[in-house]
């Protein structure tokens, strides 16, 4: 066969002499510069069994399930939450009626930071970017009329994850549901909070301890629950490249594995319930490569480095969300198209669950109409596009396979660098990640990447339609969701009623039990459930631990 090199010289070069390459960045969002063409020689030697294997089989490059979307489509899980528990409950019911297959709760910032709605620091923030949940009483309203054994519920909650999960389980218990039948996910990924989203409360080490409490307690008590969703989404949104997102997320995943091993847990006891969450951004093929590489790296590391024996421990099951950061406030309807392309990449990458962003999210929280279009986008891909007929349909594409290898190689280099930072400890990934957080390594890497991207946009090297090219003089107005300022008052009243009507003695004892567990290093989960049942507030629970663990402040850098 004629060599690519010869084609480049004889044909491509001549072509570009006549018609020069366009002056835009021929580089992926991770700064990988692909060739103009890929051929069999670019992926040689290609060991099919080792690199890809079959769907549902090690190393799962082609998908974690044997029959993938032919049997079960990805879960269409739209993230929702705003205002009061009543308002969000109403939105949930509408989404379920529209054909959504799982719930996903967005909490407001006070809840995410472990403050009750009536705390002074909550002022102005209650119900703004999610729903406010300060006690079991809010949880009761939030899931009113929803059968917890029939839906699966994902909750985006991190530092206060134990407390919020405790409230959900307390609700299930009160309503007579069997914990063994409950399905869902708590995000519970504190490492990426330190790295990117910054909703942390306690220092890294006790924060990881709280996460490992769920690893230890979860499989026995709520066996179908994913007690962690190791998240690259926020890392990417903070400005990381696809490669950094992949590398930092997997490093976080390995760090939790090592922390659980340090606790003395058996790997195959907890690893099958570790789940993931990735961003899906604009660079179509790079995103597909990222999902495929993620599954391959996770499987090989879990099997070969950590010695997991249960195939379920090797499977990287993931949720995906289209890239909020890629949405533009200019010409917002264009975002519908961006979301469709990104969602298609997630599906071709073999995601197990997907949230599609609404076109108005660069302006505010989504309106109901906008959220419906986003859900319909998934349904059109699922039912009309035909991409679900065949599993991993892009496998064997010279470019996609080359790019999958390239993304894997670059991600592995980062993971090695992180493990180097943890050298000399028995758990180099865990302590590498913690040191990287404390010395600002991740934050610096991400800030550098986001600044580089911004400069590319400013110089016009990267085109963003409607932002630095193809601008419209006249902007289209879109309807905006506004949050009723009454939320703060409604929440404060409910909290006051909870505090008035509950059994104070039971609250005191439950909080003391939690404190003791934290001080002595026992598992905190049973105490969170008991405190929730006693109607202790979120703020009260988190304050107990603030006193034991202290609070964390990150190094400030630009």
């Amino acid at each position: 066969m004629r060599k690519k090199h010869d084609w480049m010289r004889e044909t491509y070069q001549k072509s570009t002499e006549r018609m020069p390459e366009r002056k835009v960045a021929h580089r992926t969002l991770s700064n990988i510069a692909p060739d103009p063409l890929y051929t069999p020689e670019d992926i040689e030697p290609f060991d099919y069994e080792k690199k890809l294997g079959y769907p549902g089989e090690y190393p799962y490059t082609r998908g974690v399930y044997g029959s993938m979307y032919r049997s079960k489509l990805w879960t269409m899980r739209m993230f929702a939450g705003f205002g009061t528990a009543e308002q969000t409950n109403e939105r949930f019911k509408k989404l379920l009626a529209a054909g959504q297959t799982g719930l996903s709760v967005a909490f407001d910032l006070p809840t995410l930071m472990g403050y009750d709605s009536d705390h002074p620091l909550s002022k102005g923030e209650v119900g703004k970017c999610g729903v406010a949940v300060s006690s079991l009483a809010d949880m009761e309203v939030l899931f009113d009329g929803i059968n917890l054994e029939e839906v699966t519920t994902s909750m985006t909650i991190n530092s206060p994850a134990n407390a919020i999960w405790g409230m959900y389980l307390a609700l299930a218990k009160k309503k007579g549901y069997d914990w063994k039948k409950l399905g869902g996910t708590i995000q519970n990924d504190i490492l990426k909070e330190f790295i990117a989203q910054k909703e942390f409360i306690y220092p890294p080490e006790p924060s990881v301890k709280l996460v490992i409490d769920t690893f230890e307690w979860g499989p026995k008590n709520v066996p179908k629950w994913n007690f962690i969703s190791v998240s690259g989404y926020h890392i990417r949104e903070a400005g990381a490249t696809a490669v950094q997102e992949l590398a930092f997320t997997l490093a976080d995943g390995f760090a939790y594995v090592e922390a659980a091993l340090e606790r003395g847990l058996e790997i195959d006891y907890f690893a099958p319930r570790i789940s993931f969450f990735f961003d899906v951004h604009n660079d179509f093929f790079e995103e597909i490569a990222k999902f495929r590489a993620a599954r391959r790296i996770w499987a090989t590391e879990m099997k070969e480095r950590y010695g997991a024996k249960n195939p379920r421990s090797w499977m990287l099951r993931t949720h995906a969300q289209t890239a909020g950061v890629s949405l533009t406030a200019q010409q917002p309807l264009n975002n519908i198209v961006r979301v469709a392309i990104q969602a298609l990449a997630a599906v071709l990458g073999g995601t197990n669950s997907l949230h599609t962003d609404s076109y108005d999210e660069a302006l505010a929280l989504p309106t109901e109409e906008a959220a419906t279009i986003a859900l319909r986008t998934q349904q059109i891909i699922a039912y009309e596009s035909g991409v679900t007929h065949t599993i991993d349909p892009l496998a064997g594409s010279y470019y996609v396979e080359w790019l999958t290898d390239k993304v894997e190689e670059e991600a592995r280099n980062y993971i090695e660098a992180i493990r180097k930072m943890g050298e000399g400890t028995p758990y180099p990934t865990l302590y590498g990640v913690i040191r990287g957080i404390e010395n600002g390594y991740f934050q610096r890497e991400i800030a550098d990447a986001s600044y580089r991207f911004q400069q590319e946009v400013e110089s016009g090297e990267r085109i963003i339609v409607g932002v630095n090219a193809f601008k419209d003089e006249k902007e289209i107005e879109v309807p905006i969701l506004t949050i009723d300022p009454e939320v703060e008052r409604v929440q404060a009243e409910r909290l006051a009623r909870v505090r008035r009507e509950r059994d104070e003695k039971r609250v005191k004892e439950a909080l003391e039990g939690l404190r003791q567990a934290a001080v002595t290093g026992q598992n905190t989960m049973p105490h969170f459930v008991e405190a929730a049942l006693a109607y202790a507030t979120l703020g009260e629970m988190m304050d107990v631990l603030r006193k034991v663990y202290g609070i964390y402040e990150e190094p400030v850098m630009v």
């Binding site: 995410l112 950061v325 949405l327 600044y451 402040e553 630009v558």
Partner: protein, 138 residues
């Protein structure tokens, strides 16, 4: 013209999304300004006190949580109360168009939404801050 523009970039409230704040801080620094970045979780009191202490010409608030009306009005109120109304207050983040006129009326000098080129913020400060100096006879 060797006087350098001094800017405080601040993240008020509980929101931890600091990508925009950091990008803007770097861009202003690269444009030759003195930039102080507060870090996360600042109360309006902390922001105004930092601004006075650092003797800044302008404060930029970055808010993506939807709590912008509250934080801008608090910072503005405290600036007025401290006799520091001459400090230019601007900001950006996820701010619906319909709130922008209300913020401008409140005395916020400019609001930069998603997709703003950092050069536009640089140009704005290089235009407005010297006007303010001229007024103060500096």
């Amino acid at each position: 013209m060797d006087r350098k523009i001094r800017v405080l970039i601040a993240k008020p409230g509980l929101d931890g999304h600091d990508r925009g704040a950091k990008v803007v801080a770097r861009a202003l620094r690269d444009a030759g300004m003195e930039v102080i970045y507060t870090g996360l979780r600042q109360t309006p009191e902390m922001i105004v006190s930092a601004a006075l202490q650092e003797d800044v010409d302008a404060i930029g608030l970055s808010i993506l949580s939807g709590a912008h009306m509250h934080y801008f009005s608090e910072v503005k109120r405290l600036l007025d109360e401290q006799g520091a109304s001459d400090i230019l207050l601007f900001g950006g983040g996820i701010i619906p168009d319909e709130d922008v006129p209300k913020l401008l009326e409140m005395g916020v000098a400019a609001v930069f939404g998603p997709g703003t080129l950092t050069q536009d913020i640089v140009d704005f400060l290089k235009r407005e801050v010297p006007k303010k100096w001229a007024k103060a006879g500096l």
